[in-house]
């Protein structure tokens, strides 16, 4: 195992410089500032470089092969990666599954799966949603029954992001139909090359295969490929870590969209137009105010405070703001709003790309509607 320094002991400025230098020295010759996700074949060099240096799992404890970063340091790392425009790797293993394995996994599971995530040998996908269970995740119908020491899985998952790149998938399955929805769900770990697993790519509005459907037809996995107890999968599935709930509302998408909006406005010759400016500064204030609100949550993380249900405000506002920025982009781009390819082959000038990439943000990761329902009840204490 690589021996890393205790980054948490560094002061913030030094750590920021460390990350900046690391990225500048090590980022491979792959796209920067991509608007849509890269596939494994493209992003693999970066994953492996991070892996080599022990930087692929920033939040895992150092004894498990991670960087052991606290929330504040992790934020700096994210900021510097964003600043440079580093591509997002296939990070379901490092970000989602790893922490769950550390919390709920057996020693044998940890010993087997964690090193494979670290090395990039296992690329994970997440299998939660089903055609009838989107916002209402507890309605999963994909089922698993124990048979001769093996789970036999039948059913379907969908909206599996980059599932075509993965060789493992974790899924929520129904293992007891007799109890109320949430109580009969388990969390299984399944190799994608198991007989009976098939996938079908789904083209998104950008006409890219970013997610897929995964079908399970009498798929068999050993009984110990379960995370946590039987019928206790719901708890693990809902255990999104505090700082992930904060970061999903980070202002970075909106902030970077504003810089693109500015370029598009200049190109369209409206940057000096007072009417445009009036709308631009209103959006700019939204981004700045969101940044201030975001920082209050980051301060809480730094101080070790608990993050409440109110953190959903960040994601709701950020995603809608991102869309409002993209709306103005489309208007300013005039006839070029309808082009399939970027003007001057510059993605930054492509209003439609931002517009389309902004659509899923209010749908995935908790739809705005469901999050508002939760806010109304859990935070505003309004009646059912």
């Amino acid at each position: 195992m690589i021996s890393l320094p205790d980054y948490n002991a560094m002061n913030d400025a030094d750590f920021r410089q460390t990350v900046r230098s690391f990225v500048e020295e090590n980022y491979p010759d792959i796209p920067r500032h991509a608007l849509s996700r890269l596939h494994w074949e493209e992003v693999k060099p970066w994953y492996l470089i991070l892996s080599e240096h022990g930087w692929i799992c920033p939040t895992w404890p150092r004894e498990n092969g991670g960087m052991g970063l606290n929330a504040g340091k992790h934020l700096i790392l994210i900021e510097e990666f964003e600043r440079y425009g580093c591509a997002r790797v296939n990070d379901i293993g490092p970000v989602m599954l790893g922490p769950l394995l550390l919390k709920y996994g057996t020693e044998a599971q940890k010993a087997y799966f964690l090193p494979n995530i670290l090395s990039g040998d296992h690329i994970w996908a997440q299998g939660y949603s089903e055609p009838g269970a989107g916002s209402d995740l507890a309605a999963v119908r994909c089922e698993a029954v124990l048979d001769g020491g093996e789970w036999v899985i039948n059913g379907q998952k969908t909206w599996t992001t980059l599932g075509m790149d993965a060789n493992w998938i974790f899924i929520l399955v129904r293992t007891d139909k007799t109890v109320k929805k949430q109580a009969g769900i388990s969390f299984l770990l399944v190799p994608m090359d198991a007989p009976g697993v098939t996938i079908r790519n789904i083209l998104n509005l950008e006409l890219e295969a970013e997610f897929c459907e995964v079908f399970f037809d009498d798929v068999r996995v050993p009984a110990d490929h379960i995370l946590g107890e039987v019928n206790q999968g719901w708890t693990a599935a809902k255990a999104l870590l505090g700082h992930e709930r904060v970061f999903i509302g980070a202002p970075r998408l909106s902030a970077s969209a504003m810089s693109r909006l500015k370029r598009i406005a200049r190109r369209a010759g409206v940057w000096e137009d007072p009417v445009f400016r009036d709308r631009y500064v209103a959006l700019q204030c939204d981004v700045m105010d969101l940044t201030d609100l975001f920082e209050t949550y980051v301060d809480k993380l730094r101080g070790g405070e608990d993050i409440g249900a109110d953190v959903a405000m960040l994601k709701i506002f950020q995603s809608e703001l991102y869309q409002r920025i993209s709306d103005l982009m489309m208007e300013v781009a005039e006839e070029e709003s309808g082009l399939r390819l970027p003007p001057e082959a510059d993605r930054q000038l492509h209003a439609a790309a931002t517009y389309l990439s902004a659509r899923p943000t209010t749908i995935f990761g908790g739809s705005t509607e469901v999050m508002r329902n939760v806010l109304a009840k859990a935070v505003l204490d309004l009646p059912s």
Binding site: L207, F276, S337, A352, R359, E369
Partner: protein, 354 residues
């Protein structure tokens, strides 16, 4: 307007809409539309031939020039239907050409043997059309020409008059780019093309007609996108209830409906005013406000339709996506909302002066 006239236009409109059923399946099937995307010119020449045979090109040609002499109400009714079916053929652009050229419309176009489209726009983001000629020849560029990739003839609007140019004319280059909806938009470059210019004092008015008719296309598009979304709301269940029973979505759906009916009322009232002799200022103003309303509507419906479809809304396989991409492609043609508001703001001074 007398009751009889009123019935006339409704009967005419009904006949046009009936004829359009040959092109737009009544059941809303979009297989043809889906297949036409991202291939060749992005549209089907046979449909343009059909359009000619059905007399659509003659709609805006006066009766004494051998046309049908129909009004903007009939034209809007047709365009609304075509928008609902996402018809990708450059029908409006051909109608514009015929409206400009009247009896000078080339025979081949009239017979549906040649596809004619109109090239008018001098630059992106503005409504200028007087460029494109110098010294009695075509010189310069025309942008955003719909259907250019599959057109045989171009009716080119310039400050010196209208020129009809065959695609293979010496000195004409046709380039273009793919659009989000799977079609192509054209860029014509003229390097001193020799032509005859037909004088025309109705250009501004034909562009206003087109702006209005295009608004009707966006209306039809929005109407169908809303209908598809309402269907989805009725059947899609989450939390053991159809999502259309959730009040928040219901209220947002009613807002779409209201905006839609405002657009419809404005477009057909404007068409009536156009048909019954409105003055220039009314025409400028009302074409602008219809376009503003229709573009805002299409983008509102696109946004809400995606959101209400949830994850399905961001897939290419759901039909709603075709409407979203079409709205994105078409909303800013003939001037986007920013330009329309600027036009209307400029008219305020005239209003003050009047």
């Amino acid at each position: 307007m007398s009751g009889a006239m009123n019935e006339d236009w409704q009967e005419n409109a009904r006949m046009i809409v009936d004829s359009a059923r040959a092109v737009v399946p009544a059941d809303g099937n979009l297989d043809r539309i889906r297949k036409a995307r991202f291939h060749g010119s992005g549209f089907d020449r046979d449909v343009m031939r059909q359009a000619a045979e059905l007399g659509w090109l003659l709609m805006r040609v006066k009766e004494d020039s051998g046309g049908l002499g129909l009004g903007m109400r009939e034209t809007c009714a047709l365009m609304e239907l075509l928008g609902g079916g996402l018809v990708p053929e450059p029908v409006l652009s051909s109608i514009m050409a015929a409206s400009l050229l009247q009896e000078a419309l080339p025979e081949a176009a009239l017979a549906g043997e040649a596809v004619i489209v109109t090239a008018w726009q001098d630059r992106t983001g503005a409504q200028d059309w007087r460029g494109g000629s110098a010294g009695g020849r075509l010189l310069g560029q025309k942008l955003n020409v719909p259907g250019a990739a599959g057109a045989d003839l171009f009716a080119v609007i310039t400050g010196d008059g209208i020129a009809v140019v065959p695609r293979d004319a010496n000195g004409l280059t046709v380039a273009g780019e793919e659009t989000l909806d799977g079609g192509r938009t054209g860029l014509l470059t003229f390097n001193g093309v020799e032509v005859d210019f037909l004088p025309c004092d109705r250009v501004e008015r034909v562009l206003q007609d087109a702006r209005l008719a295009h608004s009707a296309y966006l209306l039809g598009l929005s109407e169908r996108a809303l209908a598809i979304t309402l269907d989805y709301l009725r059947v899609r269940k989450q939390f053991d209830r159809p999502i259309g029973s959730f009040q928040s979505l219901q209220h947002r759906a009613t807002e779409m409906k209201i905006r839609l009916e405002l657009a419809r009322a404005a477009i057909y009232a404007t068409a009536r005013r156009f048909d019954t002799g409105a003055d220039d200022r009314t025409c400028s103003r009302d074409a602008a406000r219809c376009k503003l309303r229709a573009a805002d509507l299409a983008m509102l419906v696109a946004r809400e339709a995606v959101q209400m479809h949830g994850a399905m809304g961001i897939t290419d396989e759901a039909d709603i996506g075709l409407y979203v991409r079409k709205a994105m492609t078409e909303a800013n043609l003939f001037g986007g909302p920013r330009q329309q508001r600027a036009t209307l703001a400029a008219l305020l001074d005239q209003e003050d002066a009047a």
